[in-house]
């Protein structure tokens, strides 16, 4: 039984506009957190990665944070 944020909240799709949700998967430097720490399934982690990268491209999330 996986115990991660997406499963707990029954989130099927990860949207790049949900910045508050995505912020939970990046560290204070703006880098993606590893699967070991997020506890996501491989499929969920890929979806989160794609969403974070879209959000970065659109300026909703930073590429690097000081």
């Amino acid at each position: 039984m996986s115990n991660n944020i997406l499963t707990q909240n029954d989130i099927q799709h990860v949207d790049y506009k949900d910045v508050d949700l995505l912020r939970q998967f990046i560290n204070p430097h703006g880098r993606l957190v590893s699967r070991r720490r997020t506890g996501l399934t491989a499929k969920q982690q890929r979806a989160v990665e794609a969403a974070v990268k879209r959000a970065r491209f659109m300026g909703l999330l930073p590429y690097v944070q000081k």
Binding site: I5, I11, Y16, L21, G59, L61, Y63
Partner: protein, 180 residues
């Protein structure tokens, strides 16, 4: 033409038709866009109308839309204005989810690349269902303190404070304060 050659030609035609079909087949896409902040607010609806007409032109249909609103960007983006580059740290961000064929998306993408009003855009395939998360990310402000207050043990009233104060003692204490 031999039978084998005819079969090859038929196979080529069927491949070509399937590619053509896939181009025409309607798929769900989402476009997210940033309009440069120097555009006047009354002209924004007109600019978004260009996207809408490009989608509707060849039989595309809308599923959902987010109206453009001015937001602060996480980093400055540079855009070409005439022959110089200008950095923008805010932009009008909006999005549209629509159903259309591939050729509409290609045409739309080409159109937006040429339009100087668009700072940046992204088009990608998605699903018809609403993809926004229903949960609200926990924030520090939402931490409930009522539980901790309830669980704190109540202090029993001490005997000293519960004892009635006599008039004489009170008078004496007041006297002490006033003489000081």
């Amino acid at each position: 033409m031999t039978t084998e050659e005819t079969a090859l030609v038929d196979a080529d035609l069927s491949v070509a038709t399937s590619i053509e079909d896939s181009r025409k087949e309607a798929r769900i896409y989402e476009i997210g866009y940033h309009i440069i902040p120097t555009v006047k607010e009354e002209n924004i609806e007109k600019i978004v109308g260009e996207i809408r007409s490009a989608i509707e032109k060849d039989g595309g249909s809308f599923i959902a839309e987010g109206a453009p609103s001015l937001m602060k960007l996480s980093y400055a983006m540079s855009a070409r204005e005439g022959d110089r580059r200008v950095e923008h740290d805010r932009a009008y961000f909006g999005w549209i989810k629509f159903e259309a064929g591939m050729e509409i998306v290609v045409a739309l993408s080409e159109m937006l690349k040429k339009d100087p009003s668009f700072l940046r855009f992204v088009i990608f395939r998605t699903v018809r269902e609403d993809t926004r998360a229903k949960m609200k990310a926990p924030t520090l402000r939402e931490v409930k303190r009522t539980d901790t207050i309830k669980s704190a043990p109540r202090r029993a009233p001490t005997e000293e404070s519960a004892a009635p104060v006599s008039e004489v003692d009170l008078e004496k204490a007041l006297q002490d304060i006033t003489t000081e």
